[in-house]
């Protein structure tokens, strides 16, 4: 019973603040992954797999945003992480994505 209650609580709808925090975290971590990819100090498999896992976290917010602004921001982050995962060896592109994601993290934290 307690397990079920805890699971139910864990799945309850998320507030805008929580979604903004989650997005800020995903964007900041994505920026870190992109930074390492831009310097060639990672492996393509890691960038691809971890980038997709982060993208899936951002998708959760994009698909059920608490506010339209959060939905737009989540969409940008999903798109950046998709691009990173699809082009793990492209260092210049990774550098640009890093900057985009750093900006997105700042915007999420300001929401």
């Amino acid at each position: 019973m307690l397990t079920l209650a805890a699971l139910a609580l864990a799945g309850c709808g998320q507030s805008a603040k929580k979604q903004a925090d989650d997005l800020g975290s995903v964007a900041a971590e994505g920026a870190l992954v992109a930074h390492d990819a831009s310097e060639g100090s990672t492996t393509d498999n890691f960038t691809r797999v971890h980038g997709r896992a982060l993208r899936d976290l951002a998708k959760k917010v994009r698909d059920q945003p608490a506010t339209p602004r959060l939905g737009q921001l989540a969409g940008r982050i999903v798109s950046d992480l998709d691009e990173l995962a699809d082009n793990p060896g492209d260092e210049r592109r990774a550098g640009r994505i890093q900057r985009d994601l750093e900006r997105a993290a700042k915007q999420a934290n300001a929401l």
Binding site: T3, A6, K18, S25, L32, F46, H50
Partner: protein
Amino acid sequence: MKTLFSIALGILAAIGGYVDIGDLVFNTTAGATFGYQLLWAIVLGVGGIIVYAEMCGRVAAVSNRAVFDVVRERLGFAVGLVTLVGAELVSLLTLAAEVGGIALALELLFGHSYQLFIAVAVLGLALVLWAMPFEWIERVFGYGGLCLLVLVPAVFKLHPDWGEVAKGFAPHLETGNVPLYLYYVVGLVGAGMTPYEVYFYSSGGVEEEWTPKDLTTNRLNAIVGYCLGGILSFALLICAGALFLPRGISPELLGSVALVVQSPLGPIGLILMLVGIAFAVSGAAIDTAFSGAYNIAQFFGWEWGKYRHNAGAPRFTIAWIVMLVLAFAIVITGVNPIQVTEFAVIFSVVALPATYLPILLVANDRAYMGQYRNQRLSNLLGIFYLGVIVLVALAAIPLMIITNMGTQ
């Protein structure tokens, strides 16, 4: 070299117990959330597991009896059965999570499908458990898991604030969110003293045919093995505190754990970390698969042990095969292995008192232990830690609900 091999049991039990998939993510999240403030909770957990592992290893060496033998005798059939059901459930959930963890680590290393690696992980584990002698299982997975020591140079490369790190070893509170802080304390102490560590460790002592002559080996295993596990936990928490906290990152994924090494050490660090994770999580899977089989066989008085070979202990062999099949069935549904293991850690905390009390009672029993029974220091520490365990057990589920599993 002989001494190095003789402590393999402690290293495997500690690596499997301390740095399984749930602990890896939990430690990283604790560091990312509270910086270095919770280092003291790891010290508390390491102290507790050393005290009780030494005790149950001593009981195994002197009386040739492992933990669930003792649980049934001291708690009686009914209470013993409840403890057994709880222990089996926790072992199964943890095993399922570890299988998922192996698949995730392999996916991060090689980039193929997660589902494919789940099948590879289960088949690989079955092969190892079936064919590899117990001593070699200890050595391969215990020492393979030591690739995680790459966390130690990563700590230095990240240049943490050493004054703050030192402060973290004394309990203190620098947050307004007390329930969340306590949730992490409970999780870190609980992860350190996970019951399956002592099930595996004491049964391993019987597998290795320890006698009172091996009491020094037992002590070395408990101290060196669990201190190593503790060092890895410290390193992970410090890396996360230095890298993630300033950036506002709340890690939720196994890949985030590898990132704490990749960022300071580059691709070689990353690969070592992922290989270490794969070995450590495999070690935890072996601990839990065997623990599940050990517990049930010891409780019902069946023949058990790898040393009897598969045909010599058929019900024991069937028990670990069933554990593996059930774990496969759980994880292939797509359930998040990290969430499963976080539940397992918190619920295993509730089973702690029923596991550790019988060990303390038997270790004091003159009829069993003779001259090797607990001395005053062992009893003082044993009673202190039993108090800690009871507090932690009482607080675990309310804190899990209040903090929404550590997310609020």
